[in-house]
């Protein structure tokens, strides 16, 4: 018995939509590496202005840029959801996000009220407008486990951003009645465990099996884990607002589930049926291992800086993994779809060796930055290695875009 396809064949967005987001994100990674190099002495105070600037450069500048870009690409392909006028829309989102993050960084450093307000306005326009469109489209489909997770992740992002906007308004000097400490705690829980972790879990349900030919995740498990994490975060938020100390317990449960999924993913990758051994798989395993370690040390209440390095390593490692898998594929596929005979092969867009060298720079940076908590001088070396890792990624994206444009301009076409 044959079943018809339920998927839409609407085209995935033009390649520049994704590459622009990725390039901006990787350049913010270069900026974050410089901040780490010069400001690492402030990092012990997680609420120092320079530390806040660094954290938001990483989470909004790097992670949000890459993740929004990936959503623009994946929603049509994985969820059958088409975003209207993706080029114009993505350009508006990319540049308002870029300006918003720059305002936010300068506001944290400078403390100027107007800068906080400008940051709040630009970030609200960039993130809430794109989230609104994505949520509206995703609400109308029959969900797969991935699309459901994506929807939950985007809703978490909205919660984190709305709370962030309230806090920025308060920092700007407006006399609004908010529970600042509680808002801050809920803000980072939804940003890190809701938006970033749930999105990566949701994407993993699709791509791990597809990229590495692993056994499937258990469907019931995949259906409920993202919902459960989100519910735990909601309960945490309500108890936190009501002032119940037991809220921490729900935060622990959410982190336990996230780390359990990391272990499950590593096991799936180990069970892969094909001898795939590229940099992207190394980045995935490193990301999931960093997340599992993060959870372990979170339960033992390790220093915030140590936990921040592990969590950032998790999220960034997955970003590198996806970039090195997606970028060569998109360049090759879009050129083939347009009928170019001399489209570069995927390994000619970004070589496997280049991606592997990038992995070793990234991993060395992670290990040395963790060690630097004991030997402060190593922060210089660790942030320098991270700088090289992000420069390599930026260069890979830029070159891929250049090769694409070159083929469009000078390539020869064929017809099927």
């Amino acid at each position: 018995m044959f079943n018809n396809s339920g998927l839409s064949l609407d085209q995935a967005p033009p390649i520049e939509v994704v590459l622009r987001f990725f390039l901006v994100g990787s350049i913010f990674g270069v900026v974050a590496s410089f901040m780490l190099f010069f400001w690492h002495n402030d990092l012990n105070n997680i609420y120092a202005s320079t530390t806040l600037a660094l954290i938001h450069t990483l989470t909004l500048g790097v992670m949000a840029s890459f993740m929004l870009g990936a959503l623009f690409q994946m929603m049509p392909v994985l969820c059958g959801v088409h975003i209207k006028a993706p080029v114009d829309f993505s350009i508006r989102v990319t540049y308002t996000l870029l300006v918003g993050v720059i305002f936010l960084i300068t506001a944290f450093i400078n403390g100027n009220s107007a800068l906080y307000i400008f940051a709040a306005i630009f970030l609200a326009i960039a993130i809430l407008s794109s989230a609104f469109v994505m949520i509206r489209r995703l609400s109308k489909i029959n969900h797969s486990n991935s699309s459901r997770g994506m929807l939950i992740a985007i809703i978490s992002f909205v919660i984190a951003v709305v709370l962030g906007i309230f806090m920025l308004t308060a920092r700007a000097g407006f006399n609004i009645d908010i529970k600042y400490i509680e808002f801050r705690n809920i803000h980072f829980h939804f940003a890190l465990f809701g938006w970033i972790a749930i999105l990566i879990i949701a994407v993993a349900f699709q791509v791990i099996e597809m990229f590495y030919v692993t056994p499937k995740y258990n469907q019931k498990y995949a259906k409920y884990i993202t919902i459960l994490i989100f519910l735990l975060l909601l309960i945490y938020a309500i108890l936190e607002l009501l002032g119940f100390k037991i809220s921490t317990l729900f935060s622990f449960f959410a982190v336990a589930l996230i780390s359990f999924n990391a272990v499950v993913t590593i096991i799936k990758i180990k069970q892969k049926k094909r001898p795939v051994n590229d940099a992207s798989i190394w980045f995935w395993v490193n990301g999931m291992a960093s997340l599992a370690l993060f959870a372990l040390f979170y339960f033992f209440n390790f220093s915030a800086l140590f936990l921040a390095i592990l969590f950032s390593s998790f999220a960034l490692s997955i970003i590198f993994a996806m970039s090195y898998k997606i970028i060569p594929f998109l360049v090759w596929f879009h050129l083939n779809a347009k009928g170019y005979f001399d489209a570069p092969m995927m390994h000619e867009v970004v070589s496997a060796k280049y991606a592997k060298v990038n992995f070793w720079f990234f991993l060395s940076a992670e290990v040395i930055l963790l060690t630097a908590l004991k030997f402060k001088i190593l922060f210089y070396f660790g942030s320098f290695l991270l700088l090289i890792a992000f420069c390599m990624l930026s260069l890979a994206i830029y070159r891929a875009w250049e090769k694409y444009n070159f083929t469009i301009k000078y390539g020869k076409k064929f017809n099927f």
């Binding site: 018995m1 044959f2 079943n3 396809s5 998927l7 064949l9 085209q11 995935a12 090759w332 099927f416």
Partner: protein
Amino acid sequence: MREFFLDARELEHPLPLEMAIDSLKKLDDNSYFYMLHRKEPVPLLALASEHNLNFISKKNYSFWHILISPNKDITLDNFLKSLNEIE
């Protein structure tokens, strides 16, 4: 008709698409491409649609069966049912 067959059920992304596109380049009105895949290959179908090729994608048990041909006169639905492998 000449068949270009690809069993992509155990191949990792993007090998199925890479091999499928190679096969599509060889097709003429007297040939078709038939692929088995564990997932629906949306980018391949989008590409076939963009190039105005005749195509069909259907799920049978846990696999997707994809037929693509430049020949517009074949009713791919019937053609798919007539293929021995999937009866």
